[in-house]
């Protein structure tokens, strides 16, 4: 289902449907649950579904580019932190020494994490860096 501005804020209109990574809903995440050891950092992670809902809302209020960023974000939810930081590093100027290194990262995003939008974003960077000579040594 597509969300609209009428669903916003989700935490108020449908708290039971807002869950963390392990399915724990917002009202279940209480201080007592934390003290009882029932809540981990993973329970406090946003889900791709929530990001998609926010993308819907953003689109509904006329913010298509913001929506796209939420959708790229949704694709990264399951990507491990280390790999995210590795790809970020690779995207910085002069880190990748050739277009191929970036294309390889894009392929991993696409094949391993089904991150299609992210993959295309990295491919676009690869193409631009090649055109602008950004694969040069910096340090």
């Amino acid at each position: 289902m597509t969300h609209t501005r009428a669903d916003y804020p989700l935490a108020e209109t449908q708290p039971g449907a807002v869950t963390g990574k392990h399915g724990k809903a917002l009202p279940e995440i209480t201080l007592d649950a934390v003290l009882a050891g029932h809540v981990t950092m993973e329970d406090l992670r946003i889900t791709p579904q929530a990001l998609q809902a926010q993308a819907d809302v953003a689109r509904d209020v006329g913010r298509p580019t913001l929506a796209l960023n939420f959708e790229r974000g949704a694709e990264l939810v399951e990507v491990p932190q280390d790999f995210i930081m590795q790809v970020y590093e690779l995207l910085r100027p002069g880190r990748a020494k050739s277009k191929e290194e970036l294309l390889e990262a894009a392929a991993t995003m696409r094949d391993t994490y089904q991150a299609e939008r992210i993959a295309r974003f990295i491919e676009e960077a690869a193409e631009t860096y090649a055109a602008r000579g950004l694969f040069t040594f910096r340090f």
């Binding site: 406090l44 992670r45 932190q81 970020y88 974003f121 990295i122 602008r132």
Partner: protein, 756 residues
């Protein structure tokens, strides 16, 4: 012969003013010193072919640099562009200030505008028009504000106390950074805990190295990031060690972790970094902002930021900062509108800089007001700092403008600081990080800045910070520690902030938390369409803004007078002898006193006892061998009429009129009421010696002499602002006792001699 001087001394006076510490730069477009336009700026233009942007501001697709490429692909909406780019810029400029043209119409058009077009449009507006357009175009209706919370020692106890104080003042966001970069984790925990004292909902960021900042956010200590910088030229961007794609990727990464994010850009950064391409500041910033919308970030910190001081040296620079903020909100971005780095040493320039933002409102008026003292600000001093925060509170009251802050009573501040220091100490103890001593804690609670503390030093903090990082301590551990040590409310508050990231509601444009609820451009959109619409200060909010400390009212004046009543009773007795007679003797001088003189009011505004003032005048008159009578008038409280009435009763034709507040006049029988012999209007600086001299001069006039008029020296004090509130309240007490046609009363004065 007097030697000729080589300068007008006024210039020497000006040399001493703080303004002259500011260094101004000449306009020089070729070297990047140009605010609004430069010969190197491109003319607006766009080419669209098959839904693709094939030329942008005169650059063909083949020649795009990486910024052009990103803007062409991610910002420009090819559906809107032909219509938007064809519009006359002057017409669009008029629409920006036309309250009948809705915000949404203009936002839609911006989706199709190039950087050069956006810059060309806003360049047509003067400063007032820019401020007005900003007020109309900003995304969220309710204004907010952000504080810096840092200190020179990276002391976590002080960070916690200062975070709690900032929260209580009403800041919607707090931002910290470190003196020593490895102390980031300690700073983050300290501000997270301090920011959870008192209420929940203040968003918090810890500005540090990109990768580290994201890790700290992942551990749950911070709730937003802001220092994701972008630049307007390719070479500045790469020297900043990023590209639009690396920053765009980071934006998606923050979203994937449920953490709010905005970018940072601002005039002057390219100029500081040496790659300005001879373009104007505004054009380069328009590129930055189009990039940011293209990246899909919800907002921006812009308006100069680190480049603001440089921008302010250039002609029109401050107007340019306003113009770039306008482009940001026109592009529908949340705007943390600078007013951050202190751009001047002149307090007048500071006040002038902040005012348009205060009255226009902004998502975050300052993207870092220093809630701490200048020397404690690890970002560098802000435009407004802990020293001047109270001035800002008064500006809110003056203009009935909501600058996002609320006055905080001192006793409440101390309570919150104690609580915050105890809370962070408990967390550190519980996690085995350190055990702060009682002396450390109390030195911090009462400290204005880190010079006053005897607390943890940067090296101590490094051990704490590295332990937090190494041991993988998360916000869950901190929440547990707080609750275990009895800080249950703070534990709840902290947990509530982390829970925000589950729904992602606060990732939407211009989101903040007010009274425990999300307020953003989605559910609180700016709906300005003229007077009566948009953000209005409610009556409840107005009363909050008004509630600054030490406000005077009539009750307060009467209370302080009552304190003096008993004291005066020991020094003077007034005895009414009935109707005053016309004097005929040449040596008769009359002192006319006002209705409340010594009956309801007992001291002059300078604080002198009325008994002493009267005594000084009587002594001086008698010293010349004349006789002095005291007459109370009740038909008037006005100094001139008191003086003239006294003169007409006096056998010498010379009278003195004096009000209880100390304003006095020497008058002569045949003069017009307001054409007196000598006036003593500055009661707050009139001393006993002046009243004595006044008596002596009155006597001299009675003896037919021409004395030197008394000068009560003043040094340009703002007498009105210091005293007029009290004066008006006091004078109302005098006028309240007047009675039309009341006859003058002869008063016998007995000075009982007790000296002060």
């Amino acid at each position: 012969m007097t030697p000729k001087l080589n300068r007008w001394k006024r210039f020497a006076d000006w040399d001493e003013r703080p303004l002259r510490l500011d260094r101004f730069a000449a306009e020089d477009p070729a070297n990047g010193f140009s605010a609004f336009s430069s010969p190197a700026d491109p003319k607006p233009g766009i080419g669209i072919k098959d839904g693709r942007v094939v030329s942008l501001d005169g650059v063909l697709e083949h020649d795009y640099d990486m910024i052009d490429r990103f803007i062409a692909r991610h910002h420009i909406d090819p559906e809107v562009a032909p219509e938007a780019m064809a519009l006359d810029s002057a017409t669009v400029a008029r629409w920006l200030v036309d309250m009948n043209v809705p915000r949404e119409t203009l936002v839609r058009l911006a989706h199709g505008m190039t950087p050069a077009k956006l810059a060309e449009v806003v360049s047509q507006l003067n400063a007032l028009e820019i401020a007005f357009a900003y007020s109309k175009m900003r995304a969220r209706k309710t204004p907010g504000n952000q504080a810096h919370v840092t200190n020179a020692k990276d002391d976590p106890l002080q960070l916690a106390a200062d975070a709690a104080t900032a929260v209580a003042f009403g800041f919607d966001e707090i931002e910290t950074t470190m003196r020593v970069s490895r102390n980031a984790w300690s700073n983050a925990v300290a501000c997270a805990v301090g920011g959870a004292v008192g209420r929940w909902g203040t968003l918090f960021q810890c500005s540090s190295e990109e990768a580290e900042e994201l890790r700290i956010a992942m551990a749950g200590f911070t709730s937003y990031a802001e220092t994701v910088s972008v630049y307007g030229t390719e070479k500045s961007f790469t020297d900043g060690d990023d590209t639009p794609w690396s920053k765009g990727f980071l934006a998606a990464a923050y979203a994937s972790r449920g953490v709010k994010m905005r970018c940072t850009s601002g005039a002057g950064s390219e100029l500081l970094m040496g790659f300005h391409e001879a373009k104007s500041l505004l054009y380069l910033e328009a590129r930055c902002l189009c990039l940011q919308r293209g990246m899909g970030v919800q907002g921006t910190q812009n308006g100069g930021i680190d480049g603001a001081p440089l921008t302010a040296t250039i002609p029109g620079g401050v107007r340019e900062l306003m113009a770039e903020n306008l482009i940001a909100v026109w592009l529908d971005l949340e705007c943390a509108s600078g007013n951050d780095a202190r751009s001047t040493e002149s307090e007048i320039r500071v006040g002038a800089k902040i005012l348009p933002y205060l009255i226009a409102g902004s998502d975050l008026i300052c993207s870092g007001m220093g809630s701490i003292l200048k020397y404690d600000n690890s970002f560098n001093p802000s435009l407004i700092n802990g020293e001047e925060l109270e001035d800002y509170l008064v500006l809110q009251r003056d203009f009935e403008a909501d600058g996002g802050l609320t006055p905080l009573p001192e006793s409440r501040a101390i309570e919150l600081r104690e609580r915050a220091v105890e809370a962070i100490s408990a967390v550190f103890e519980e996690l085995g990080l350190t055990t702060p001593t009682e002396d450390m804690k109390s030195s911090v609670v009462y400290a204005s800045g880190s010079d006053d503390t005897r607390s943890l030093m940067p090296r101590d903090v490094s051990f704490i910070s590295e332990a937090i990082k190494e041991r993988g301590i998360t916000v869950i551990d901190v929440v547990k520690a707080l609750a275990k040590r009895g800080f249950r409310e703070e534990a709840e508050n902290l947990l509530d902030v982390v829970k925000l990231r589950l729904s992602g509601d606060y990732l939407q444009t211009s989101a903040m938390i007010r009274n425990g609820r999300i307020v953003s451009a989605v559910n609180d959109p700016n709906d300005y369409l003229g007077p009566g619409s948009g953000y209005r200060v409610s009556e409840e909010r107005r009363l909050q803004l008004n509630d600054i400390r030490d406000v005077l009212d009539q009750k307060e004046v009467l209370r302080s007078e009552a304190l003096h009543e008993k004291d005066e009773a020991r020094h003077i007795r007034y005895r009414n002898l009935g109707p005053a007679a016309n004097g005929s003797a040449k040596d008769d001088v009359v002192i006319g006193i006002s209705p409340a003189f010594g009956l309801k009011l007992y001291r002059t505004t300078a604080g002198h006892r009325l008994s002493e003032v009267l005594g000084a005048m009587l002594d001086a008159i008698r010293a010349r061998g004349l006789k002095a009578r005291v007459v109370r008038f009740r038909h008037t409280a006005d100094t001139s009429f008191l003086g003239l009435s006294a003169a007409r009763l006096a056998g010498s034709g010379i009278g003195i009129g004096i009000q209880a507040k100390g304003t006095a006049v020497i008058h002569q029988r045949d003069r017009q009421p307001h054409n007196n012999l000598e006036l003593f209007s500055n009661a707050p600086i009139t001393r006993l010696e002046h009243y004595r001299a006044l008596g002596a001069n009155a006597a001299a006039y009675a003896l037919g002499e021409m004395p030197e008029p008394i000068v009560v020296p003043q040094r340009g004090e703002a007498m009105g602002s210091r005293h007029h509130a009290r004066v008006a309240l006091i004078y109302a007490i005098e006028t309240g006792l007047t009675e039309a046609g009341a006859a003058p009363e002869e008063v016998d004065i007995t000075l009982t001699g007790a000296k002060s």
